[in-house]
């Protein structure tokens, strides 16, 4: 089972690289879908089957479809070279991020070590258990997200509709 984690971890990283470095938005979107799918498999391995399915259904199956549709609709093509002077952030950003990555890696390594297994007593992560927790301890965030979704619907209509 562990080997699957490493396989899909590598898949995720390669696909993420492809998200960042592809010049055609559709390829980036497809790579992102691969990342999402690989992460869904990893969630399965980590004992979160429900979240894995939600990830595929909502993230890969709905959110990314929206991305692909918008890309198709706007016919977003190849990204050309930057027409403007090289931005400051583009030169400073990546080295900073690399430093951040190394730093973070070292700290995580120190804290949890090479072998600190990511395991607790096996949990019941079935949809029923998640639902129970959701509707008992997290009922407020759950209800409040409905306002969030309402705002999103409202916003999509307000911003994208040609004539109200």
């Amino acid at each position: 089972m562990e080997i699957l984690f490493y396989i899909f971890g590598v898949v995720a990283i390669v696909a993420a690289l492809s998200v960042v470095f592809q010049r055609t938005p559709v390829y980036s979107a497809l790579s992102l879908i691969v990342v999402l799918a690989a992460l869904a498999v990893i969630y399965l391995l980590l004992g979160a089957p429900f979240i894995a399915m939600v990830q595929v259904i909502v993230y890969a199956g709905a959110i990314m479809v929206l991305f692909v549709l918008v890309i198709m609709l706007l016919n977003a093509g190849h990204e050309g070279p930057s027409a403007h002077r090289a931005k400051f952030a583009r030169w400073v950003g990546p080295p900073l991020l690399l430093a951040f990555l190394v730093e973070f890696g070292v700290i995580v390594w120190k804290q949890y070590g090479l072998t600190g297994a990511a395991s607790a007593p096996a949990l019941d992560a079935s949809p029923a258990a998640i639902g129970r927790l959701l509707f008992k301890s997290y009922i407020l965030p759950f209800e409040v997200t409905s306002i969030l979704i309402l705002v999103a619907v409202l916003g999509a209509v307000v911003l994208a509709k040609k004539q109200l």
Binding site: E103, Y138, L140, P141, V144, L148, A152, L154, L159
Partner: protein, 487 residues
């Protein structure tokens, strides 16, 4: 613990009322005849007033709600009232604006209300996930509001920039939450504090620092501190002016509240994280004040000038948070009230003066305004003087309390830098005043008389500015006696 009772709902009554009225506005929109859309604005204002009454009422039911994810204490109550004040003033100030520029009404009011709901949840919640959801509600509403004039290039750009950088910041905030959760096993701020104070060995200090820094970056974007302020000028300039009035105050107040709750409330008590928090705040306070004030000197657009000024003000408030403790907190809370009054007043007045489609927003457009419209010029002057911190206005005492708290916390260097900065800031605030009173030539700004609702809003903010500027001690006393467990 897990069952939900009526007490839970009472403790979020203001938010509930606001949500209901937001829905009501949306449902009334299609049945309101075309010329009468301002009615919806009054419905929204009624909602704000009712929510305000509710927030006064629930002050008598302190305690936590919904599995300790909401805390109804003096802190959250005060901030919710402040947010409602901002929302009310902005609603009053935007009705005539929407009418003039022929913008759709209903959704606008509903979005203002929902953004307020989100901000109110942010300030009231002690659960980081709830904070995150509140943050997203208020952010997403304001992304939409910033781009509300969808056919207009600048409004659209403002919205794109705000959205991209805002979401980027949210990701950082969320990553910080993930690590806090990983280190302590909880996202409840009170439990986080207890866990970290009682068993400091449980978390590696470096990882804790990273979590703190990540969360700080996320919030710093929202309150626009240097170097995370890059979006502010463009967004404030491009957004419709009443929206700018809102998003320069309400989300900022909420984000400051979270900053206080997280950093003063939880991490300041943690031995291993305290110094990191302190230096983070110290450095960004200095940078923010200096950059905000220096950049404002070169601005020719009034909205942009006020954007840089708001960055500078964020810096002053950070000074108060750096000072920390009960005194720093109450100083920051006082500052937020003053800042909200003067900023909202200034922006809604400018929204009116700028004329249809905001044609006149340059400083030279205001040249000679005093001769043409002395009343409006006087009002704008008061706002500018208050922002600059002249005595007898709230701006003076806001700064005074913050600097005093910094002195008491032995932050002499920081106080001196802040003082120098406020001296510099006088120059650009007065430049606008000078243009209005002493500039040669006829003013470009030739707007007709002030609509009644807007006049009322401006009167309220002026009254507030003078009242708090002359009798600040009452409010400060109340703020000093907030009963919050973490102070």
């Amino acid at each position: 613990m897990t069952s939900v009772g009526s007490a839970d709902f009472i403790r979020i009554l203001p938010e509930l009322i606001l949500s209901v009225f937001a829905l009501l506005v949306m449902m009334l929109e299609p049945v309101t005849p075309l010329g009468k859309k301002t009615v919806l604005g009054w419905v929204a204002i009624a909602g704000v007033i009712l929510a305000g009454l509710a927030s006064f009422a629930i002050a008598y039911f302190p305690g936590s709600a919904f599995s300790a994810s909401i805390s109804n204490d003096g802190f959250s109550n005060y901030l919710i009232e402040l947010l409602l004040l901002i929302a009310g003033l902005v609603l009053l100030g935007s009705m005539a604006y929407l009418e003039r520029d022929a913008i759709d009404h209903g959704e606008f009011y509903a979005l203002i209300l929902m953004a307020t709901v989100g901000a109110a949840f942010m300030v009231a919640s002690t659960e980081l996930i709830m904070v995150f959801i509140g943050l997203e509600i208020s952010s997403i509403s304001t992304y939409i509001l910033a781009g509300y004039k969808r056919g207009e290039m600048q409004s659209n750009e403002s919205s794109v920039k705000y959205f991209l950088l805002g979401s980027f910041a949210t990701a950082f905030f969320l990553y910080g939450i993930a690590f806090v959760y990983g280190l302590t096993g909880t996202t409840n701020l009170d439990v986080v504090r207890e866990t970290l104070v009682n068993s400091p060995q449980s978390a590696s200090p470096q990882l804790l620092w990273l979590a703190v820094i990540l969360m700080f970056v996320g919030l710093a974007f929202k309150v626009s501190t240097v170097p995370f302020q890059i979006w502010t000028p463009d967004v404030y300039q491009g957004a419709p002016a009443p929206v700018t009035a809102f998003l320069s105050t309400a989300p900022k107040a909420a984000a400051f509240a979270v900053l206080v709750r997280v950093f003063v409330g939880s991490f300041d008590h943690v031995a291993s994280a305290g110094p990191v928090v302190f230096w983070l705040l110290w450095i960004s306070a200095v940078l923010t004040m200096c950059l905000g004030n220096l950049a404002a000197l070169w601005q020719s657009n009034v909205k942009r000038l006020l954007a840089y000024s708001s960055i500078a003000h964020a810096g002053y408030m950070l000074v108060g948070i750096t000072a920390g403790g009960a005194e720093g907190t109450s100083a920051v809370l006082f500052y937020l009230a003053g800042y909200a009054l003067m900023n909202v007043g200034a922006f809604i007045l400018i929204a009116h003066l700028a004329g249809s489609d905001e044609r006149y927003t340059n400083v030279q457009d205001f040249t000679g305004l005093a001769a043409d419209r002395p009343g409006m010029a006087a009002c704008l002057t008061v706002f500018m003087l208050s922002l600059a911190g002249f005595p007898s206005t709230v701006g003076f005492f806001a700064k005074f309390y913050v600097f005093r708290s910094a002195m008491h916390a032995h932050l002499t260097g920081l106080t001196i830098i802040a003082l120098l900065n406020s001296v510099v800031s006088v120059y650009y605030y007065l430049a606008l005043v000078v243009a209005m009173y002493m500039g040669e030539g006829k003013t470009q700004v030739s707007e007709s008389s002030v609509p009644r609702a807007l006049g009322f809003a401006i009167a309220v903010s002026l009254l507030g500015i003078f009242f708090l500027g002359l009798f600040p001690s009452g409010l400060l006393r109340d703020l000093n006696s907030l009963h919050v467990p973490w102070l």
